[in-house]
Amino acid sequence: MVRRARQGDEFAFGLLVRRYQRAAYSVAYSVTGRHEDAEDAAQESFLVALQRLDECRSPEKFAGWLMTIVRNRSRNLVRRESLREMDPVPIGASARGPMPDRVTETRELRSRLEEALEGLSEVQREIVLLHDLEGWKHREIAERLDLPSGTVRSHLHFARKALRRTLGSTEGKLNQTRKIP
């Protein structure tokens, strides 16, 4: 697919996007922490990746290569956003927030989850999101992010533990699983 996309095959490129769009979004979200920013960064990253596709020497390592681009684009975006936020916000301008038309419960849960994710390190967020949101296995994450498998497992373990702790310390949906001693 990578070779065909390199030759301008639109169908092949579309397949690549379909295959890695969730992973790209997950990585972008782990850096930006906001849906809109993650969406922008992930989309831009695919376009940048296409322009630089000749630099991807090993097509089998495309996923890891793409994720590096996503990470860098996301960091740049966060940097730009933080600079922009230093400017005074014009009256009437709408702030970027969570997606509209959300069911209250889901919004609440999501909000708490976002807060909990903020407490994790960037790499922990990335691994949790790739594992739970995208569904990549430990081995896939290790291969594609070029990390030792043990490191991935360790990050996932501590990230989950921290998430459970944070989510458990607040009232909400997740507390329904509370154990009665």
Partner: protein, 131 residues
Amino acid sequence: MRDGWQWMDEADVSAENDLQLTNAVRGLDPAVEDPNYWLRFQGWVVTSARAELTRRRLMVELTMGDVMSSWARALVPSALLAAAVAGLLAVGPPAPSSAPLSVEELLVSGLDGEDPIPDRTASVTFVSELF
């Protein structure tokens, strides 16, 4: 007494709780709210990439054969012109040929100094005739 997730020991965390956590994280998937989200995402990216994809296709179409034919386009007229000029020269008026040289002239041609060939019309006087 600790509440919620917090009071549970690490070893006490069951697969069910992890599943719950996984489900909670999956709630961050934009497709939860909008089932067509990823389809639109893909469509947006592919549409935005169309110009670059077209450029890449054009680059591939410039194959070796195209390069050779582009050379041929320049070479063939030049070769034809050269052949025509050569043909014209070949059928043109012949250059005036010089008179054939005698054997003596051929032998001394290119030598500097006095004409080594004596005057063939002069009479030869032998020494014996002087005395």
